[in-house]
Amino acid sequence: MLSSTFKNIAVEGISVALPTQKVAVDTFIDSFGDEVVSGFKSMTGVESISRAKPEQTASDLGYEAALNLLNKTNCKTDDIGILIFVTQKPDFRVPSTAFLLHKRLGLSEDCICFDINLACSGFVYGLQTAFSMLDNSKSKKALLITADTSMRTLSPVDRSMIMLFGDSGSATLVEKKTCPQSTRFAFKTDGKRFKSIVTPAGAYRAKKIPNKTVMWEDGIERSYYDTQMKGMDVFGFSISDVPKLMKSFMEEFEVTSEDFDFFTLHQANKYILKQISRKVKIPMEKIPISLDRYGNNSSNSIPLVICDHLVNAQNKTFRLFMSGFGAGLSWACGDIHLNSDKIFPIIRTDNYFKG
């Protein structure tokens, strides 16, 4: 476990943007049948998801979340010295999509910017990167944007994924300030299991594979440009490796589940959250759920659950245990303090970049 601790850096704002289109899981009954859909809803807890318009990219959702965040926090763009964009669905191969966001947000030439290619662990990784770079630079503020449109690489007949993933974007402002509490992070990686969640073609390793569907060993038709998830492997990882890291994290930093107000966890599915609750001995009341209305939102699951559940408390500081886990395989934990006044209501948008 790689861990780190930071002092005098804090999250000063968090905003989430969803596309306007809501898709009820029941609309898949015609494709997959009543039994499959009702079993899926009962096990995963997902009732509906949000879907981006065809023209809308992940960065469009992240941009709208960032714009809302900068307006709500009255943040001067010149103060932002670091822009990090976490996504698995970039606008371009070259350059990093962060450069388009840099232009659209009007950030300074003295701002570092780059993409991180991570999925469900991406928010915690991005946050730690922002904290680290602030800690080691003269920059006052960092902007972390996470966004995904997972739907873009899902086979329409993949009943294990097409009903599960929602689209969204988030923006988080991280700032140097005097504060009494420390922020901690911890990470694990297992590249040996990289095929557990993979989109094999579309980059440069498998360049000449035709874009046609074939039957995979799980009996689902996909092309090599579609994402495949080995469901039971990922499930096993989620309910064994992830709780193990959460427990190691709490042991190392000498905290217990009672020290945290909430466990804002990656919204993989309801059954996985139930298993984590049981293994780490966290009451389910401390694990807020947003997947019922929004599904699994990749790197945005954690900011989404925060903005969904903690937005209405008045000037209350929450201590949050975060955990994100997924493609890589990659898993991470965080311990942060966040004031409810820094959490903004979720916005809905169909806007996209027309440049």
Partner: protein, 79 residues
């Protein structure tokens, strides 16, 4: 309802089959729609029905009708 009836009812609902289809050959290799979603739905429904919580290894190995019976019996459920 007898436990075996409850066990069978969950299988027939999850896989949309008749009770007469449930036999020693009913497994992940022979049933078309036995995938991660149906396997986890099956385990989740059985846990709720019998008020048990399976260990990770048992969930992963729950890959046939007969193997499932052995696993459920480990949790003191008579079938």
């Amino acid at each position: 309802m007898e436990n075996i009836k409850k066990y069978n009812k969950i299988f027939t609902a999850v896989f949309n089959v008749n009770e007469t289809d449930l036999n020693g050959d009913f497994s992940i290799t022979s049933v078309d729609n036995w995938d991660s979603i149906t396997q986890l739905t099956l385990v989740s429904e059985l846990e709720d029905e019998f008020d048990i919580m399976l260990d990770t290894q048992d969930i992963l190995e729950f890959q046939s009708y007969e193997e499932g019976k052995k696993i459920v019996k480990k949790y003191n459920i008579e079938l």
